[in-house]
């Protein structure tokens, strides 16, 4: 019984809570010095071999998922729970002033931790890139069809906005249309779609020596000779030259950009040997560039996170607790 009592006393001690807070603060601060969640190769390049080994062996590269963080956090949550229950019980029993603000904050922090736990197991996310007219399947028979994508830029070239206009379908039946923007996500069933990024797609029409048109996409390649590979990378349009098509995808003047890489059979790996910018009507080897086209694909982040509602409750509790404490303190000072 005595052992249990002293253990209970230890758990609810402010000293333990402060030591844990200090530990979590110091180790979290140290973790910001090491970029988190990168490949092992990254740390081998960035740090000395000893340090890289130390980072990997201690899981410091994913500190917030490591036992160094999670175990003290678990102990802290037990301490906080014990403190909260003990404090509440004492206040309710005795005739002490009913100052429940700090208790509500503590409960809020505990709920927040529960939210964090739910997030570990209840969150999924995936990234999809869609071109106009393309669609992707979601959970519960939903489907998203991209009807148009617009990328607006400021005059200095910085992004102004991305508009992804989508139609939501369920079992192939259109339900609604919506424009997804950054800060304006779309909820579809349990999932939410966020405007996250974009990708540029390019094609080039090449005429071969026999007069045949071959359409190549970014990443397509051919062997030039034993020493090199030619890879089609992207299209560079000449600004203001106009377009040959009604969708404004294929500029009248522009370049197909190819990279010449050392062939692996040459024994030197895939090193970059040269970059060739080939204008429309010009040739690369025996191929004539006939037409180049470029367009953007929207990057949508599809997120399902079951912890959000718990976290919102936690925020409301913390907000309420903080406000209540603040108001009570002001009243006490005025009295």
């Amino acid at each position: 019984m005595k052992l249990w009592e002293s253990f209970y006393k230890f758990l609810k001690s402010t000293k333990l809570a402060v030591v844990l807070i200090l530990y979590l603060a110091i180790t979290s601060a140290l973790s910001t010095l090491v970029p988190q969640g990168k490949d092992p190769a990254f740390y081998k390049i960035k740090f000395s071999p000893v340090l890289a080994m130390l980072i990997e062996s201690t899981s410091f590269h994913s500190f917030f998922k490591s036992p160094w963080f999670l175990i003290p956090l678990a102990v802290f949550s037990v301490t906080l729970l014990t403190c909260t229950v003990d404090r509440l019980a004492r206040r309710l029993k005795s005739g002490m002033k009913k100052r429940f603000g700090p208790d509500i904050i503590h409960i809020g922090v505990l709920v927040l931790m529960v939210g964090g736990l739910i997030r570990v197991y209840g969150r999924t996310e995936k990234m999809v890139y869609l071109g106009e007219g393309e669609s992707t399947r979601l959970a519960d028979g939903y489907e998203i069809l991209l009807t148009s994508f617009e990328y607006l830029q400021y005059e200095d070239g910085r992004p102004k906005d991305w508009y992804s206009r989508v139609t939501v379908l369920q079992n192939d039946f259109p339900l609604t249309t919506f424009t997804i923007e950054v800060n304006k996500p779309l909820r579809v069933g349990k999932q939410k779609l966020y405007q996250s990024s974009y990708q540029q797609d390019s094609t080039a029409d090449l005429r071969d020596p026999y007069g045949q048109i071959i359409t190549v996409r970014a990443g397509d390649y051919y062997m030039r000779d034993e020493g090199s590979i030619i890879v089609f990378r992207r299209v560079e349009a000449v600004p203001g030259s106009g377009f040959v098509d009604s969708d404004n995808r294929c500029p009248k003047e522009g370049y197909a950009v190819f990279e010449e890489l050392a062939s692996p059979t040459g024994g030197k790996g895939h090193g970059l040997k040269a970059v060739h910018k080939v204008a429309i009507s010009d040739k690369i080897d025996e191929y004539t560039v006939e037409k180049v086209c470029t367009w953007n694909r929207t990057g949508l982040q599809i997120v399902e996170d079951r912890s959000v509602s718990t976290v919102i409750v936690a925020f409301i509790l913390i907000g309420m607790g903080v406000s209540l404490t603040f108001i009570q303190k002001i009243r006490e000072n005025e009295a």
Partner: protein, 261 residues
Amino acid sequence: MISTIAFCLLIAAIILQIIYLFRNIRGPDPFSHFFILAAGLLLFTAIIERSVKINFVAITNTYESLVFFSGAIAIVIFVYRLRNKGRALPFMVFGGTVTAVILLALTSSPVSGKEIMPPIPALQSYWLVLHVSFAFVGEAFFAFSFVAAIYFLFAKDEEKKKRLDRIVYTSIGIGYPIYTAGALIFGAVWAQNAWGSYWSWDPKETWALITWLVYTGYLHTRLVKKWRGKMTALLSIIGFVFTIFTFFGVNYLLAGLHSYG
């Protein structure tokens, strides 16, 4: 231009305060807080002027944040001086004004970027406005507590020490809930809305949490453990050093989502 006038007013306030401090006149000078108020209002006018130009609330980069932060500190000093009338501690007003001037002087640094630029898509959110403005108002109180804590460490008179300890506690008591709402809650809501993730352990988030933990530690040691004096003053100083590191250090030393401001 408006910020420059505000800067001059703050310098004029400092000169006036120094004259009074050196002449050993008891109590604060009767005018400088009006200069400080005018400077604070001008700094907020500068924010409004920039906001009109970019058609959004202009607290989206380091320059604008510094102007807002400095303006908020100026208003906190004025309120302190007004509430305490002749009993206000002259060194508190002086220290607060110096802090506001230092922050404003940093706007001239090349790294703060004065250009008026409309925000990138992620920053076009009113949650961001709440996040930044509440965080800086909270931090303005932390700055005031920092001045009081420094003053506490050098003060000899016990009565004065008691008053300074009270100022540290009151400033943190007011700043803490505002900072909690702004830096942590509104920040998380904004991140959820913009990226679908309310917390990413980004260096700036982590340091904002560490700062919050330090002030949480301060409140617990003072209220539960009944600590007073040197230790709590030191905690308050550490808290403000972390506040400043979260604002500047993380931007320039550690890479992350918040590298714009």
